[in-house]
Symmetry: C2
Subunit: 463 residues, 2 copies
């Protein structure tokens, strides 16, 4: 990928400086660079000139300082699970792979918090916490790094109860564009002390700094857990059930919608036999069996009022695992509808009062198209994904997926929502930001220019 | 107050322009200016040159644009309940009183959100919502405006369960230093779309823009409510009870600590007879009586383990009202310990594992001082206030309160906490920010310079 006119590629002088920092933890091998040229998305790859694997905050500082001196782009890289091209080095430069910085530095049961390096992955963290009785609830699906999750303001199935990375991150260490290391936030549960830099860096997608450490909130593992499924005659009834559940303050831990297309795909893929209707998957966390039973019973009553059928509880861990396996396999099940396809995923999020309308209009668009798509949604938050299995080599597929995605993004924005609830902007959603933020986008650019005047941090993304 | 060398006072030309905007909603009368020269704090007053009372976003835009043209300071003013001198016009200029902008623009029961103008007060909002079955939980004590609460990132007794203004605000309308009006955030429950401008303006204390509208999250009013009190042999036991309660995930809605000094003051002031020990006040919100009973029983068991005595539930609304009235009167009860005094209040917030230690050391400092102080704390968040009744005309009192506050702020910061959990920085906490944020403070200044290059927005505060 050719460098931006104002950027320079990583030349021999820069690579020598980076080698002085990283020693053997640096590679210019094509295979390594290709591995760092893209995430999991359909977006065109962007080949970095070199990949470095820092071990410490100081390494990252030295790397970014060297890049600043040489006007060379810096692209932070974690697990590579990005869905919007965040990690693609579209202007070349240095890919900073943080996966060697994967130490869990501190866990406090009293404070329900932990400090980890940015390269710690979700599953690694969960495994570490298992023996402590604590849990980090955020689950974006992929085994992402926590640094990457913070950079994209990720969330997932449990956000309806436990929030997103915006809520989970108490503080950060960030290397700025000129190599300074700052600490944002702190370990206090709340603070009114100065601008909320933590929240500014969360979701900034590597364009304002490179996140190297995170302090995050934990929870005690719930004493009791139950799950349930229920199918509905139509999307509206399912969404009405969700709205009433949340209005009543029932603290559902997960509340996921699969449309009839997705249910059928899941049935085929996972050899299950859910009735082929829009279906809600619930999870309840509580203080006791009595507590989760009360929650489930209340939700069952609400669902029945809206025509929900076969409200079925999965009480044993095995039954719950089966249920959530089906939900987690939804993406692959959708792809299996068209063997050999790749996934193209939308991420609209709207006020829940508009959710049914947004989904129904979108499904109408898809019905009139040559593509198929399956829906999975974090409906408690008004967030849903249409998964299009597309043939990446068929221009017709790509053009049509693009057209449908654009209609959906514009619809979501016109309903007071957002083009991206949890995947981030990266390359894929850039074109909608002006529509969504108006002059607010100019303010974002002013902040970007103030903190990264050379524009070396993840250029070509978001703004 | 003399203007800053680089600022100009509101001269005749500017006042003529402001009059063209605001008509009769403008005053240069001394009494009006004096009313806008300070909040409720001990900080020195700062007299504005003129006070304007805009009716609309467009009015605010025109006012700020005129001030920018004339290089004149702009200080936003709400209910005047600030405790850190945020509203004091220390460089003169224009006080923009937003209390005429007090319309509730929209309430959605389905989305559990509402949009209000910045001048809406907490009690006005609560009254409006009462018939809807919805509630806005944040309660900072004072009948503040929602704009002011957002500007200082306020919280209060319910933050342990429902969060702070950081969590409650979904989106804002903000007039920038050059008069542009931007909309931040949106009505979606979550978003990964661009920099989190909403959280940047929440807590920015009028230094980055003037907040004119807010979209905030609501909750359904709880189906069942219960309260309880329990006293403890010492602070440590009370804090241990809190830690265990939160670890177990018991969703307490309020959990407040009064030390023995405060309990005695409350007893005298409100003619009550609580045993004079460190005492926790609890409130439980739940889905049913059974639910809140389960929460209260669990907490009662935990308290007993740590030596808590007389765990007493207040089930009737009347008993609860009495209990919370005592808590809300704590501030006045503390002042009544020294008739004729004014309050000097600290606001440290620390990781809860350090809370008992922080409190005990602080009480030791106070015991060795000529001042007295009573403690009220939002202990679920690690946040507590020492209320010093001081004689504002006694230099000894002021110097000593300042010295003790400084020791506490430094102690909190050295424990990984913050000098201000919920009152904000304003004039009073400026001197601690460098210690607390290090080079992060430079980043705040860079952002300030980018968004307000003339420095006209609330000069002399925070940074």
């Amino acid at each position: 990928m050719s460098p931006h006119p104002s950027f320079k590629p990583a030349d021999e002088a820069l690579i020598a400086e980076l080698t002085a920092v990283a020693g053997a933890n640096l590679s210019t091998a094509l295979a390594v660079r290709e591995h760092h040229a893209r995430g999991e998305s359909h977006h065109p790859a962007g080949l970095p000139d070199v990949v470095v694997f820092p071990d410490s905050n100081e390494d990252v500082q030295a790397i970014v300082s060297a890049c600043a001196k040489h006007r060379c782009p810096v692209v932070a890289f974690g697990a590579g699970s990005s869905l919007e091209g965040h990690v693609n080095a579209v202007h070349g430069g240095v890919s900073v792979d943080l996966t060697r910085m994967n130490r869990i530095l501190r866990v406090s049961a009293d404070d329900l918090d932990a400090t980890v390096q940015a390269g710690v992955t979700r599953k690694q963290f969960d495994k570490h916490l298992r023996s402590t009785g604590l849990i980090f609830h955020l689950d974006p699906g992929a085994d992402a790094t926590l640094g990457g999750m913070a950079a994209t303001r990720a969330s997932g199935t449990t956000a309806v109860r436990y929030g997103t990375m915006r809520d989970a991150v108490l503080g950060l260490k960030v290397v700025l564009a000129d190599g300074r290391l700052i600490t944002t936030g702190g370990r206090a549960r709340k603070s009114s002390s100065g601008y909320d830099l933590t929240r500014l860096f969360v979701g900034s997608e590597g364009t304002l700094g490179v996140i190297t450490e995170l302090t995050v909130r934990l929870h005690g593992r719930p004493e009791a857990v139950a799950a349930a499924t229920c199918h509905f005659p139509d999307i509206e009834s399912a969404v009405r059930t969700v709205i009433t559940t949340i209005q009543l303050g029932i603290p559902v831990a997960r509340i996921e919608l699969l449309d009839e297309v997705q249910v059928e795909a899941v049935n085929r893929f996972s050899h299950l036999s859910y009735p082929v209707f829009p279906t809600l998957f619930f999870e309840f966390h509580g203080l006791s069996e009595r507590d989760v039973t009360e929650q489930a019973e209340l939700v069952g009553e609400i669902a029945a009022e809206y025509g929900g059928a076969a409200f079925e509880r999965a009480v044993t861990p095995e039954a719950r695992a089966l249920l959530w396996q089906a939900r987690h396999d939804a993406y692959y099940a959708a792809l299996a509808m068209r063997p050999g396809s790749r996934g193209w995923t939308t991420d609209a999020c709207v006020p829940i009062s508009r959710l049914a309308e947004c989904i129904v209009e979108t499904k109408r668009d898809i019905a009139a198209s040559h593509l198929v798509a399956a829906l999975v949604g974090h409906v408690g938050d008004g967030n849903f994904h249409m998964i299009f299995p597309v043939n990446p080599d068929a221009p017709d597929d790509i053009v049509e997926a693009e057209r449908l995605s654009e209609r959906l993004a514009e619809r979501a924005i016109s309903m007071g929502g957002t083009c991206t609830g949890e995947h981030g902007v990266g390359l894929g959603k850039k074109k909608y930001l002006s529509r969504e933020h108006g002059e607010g986008l100019d303010v974002m650019r002013e902040i970007k220019n103030a903190l990264d005047p050379l524009g070396i941090l993840n250029p070509g993304k978001m703004l």
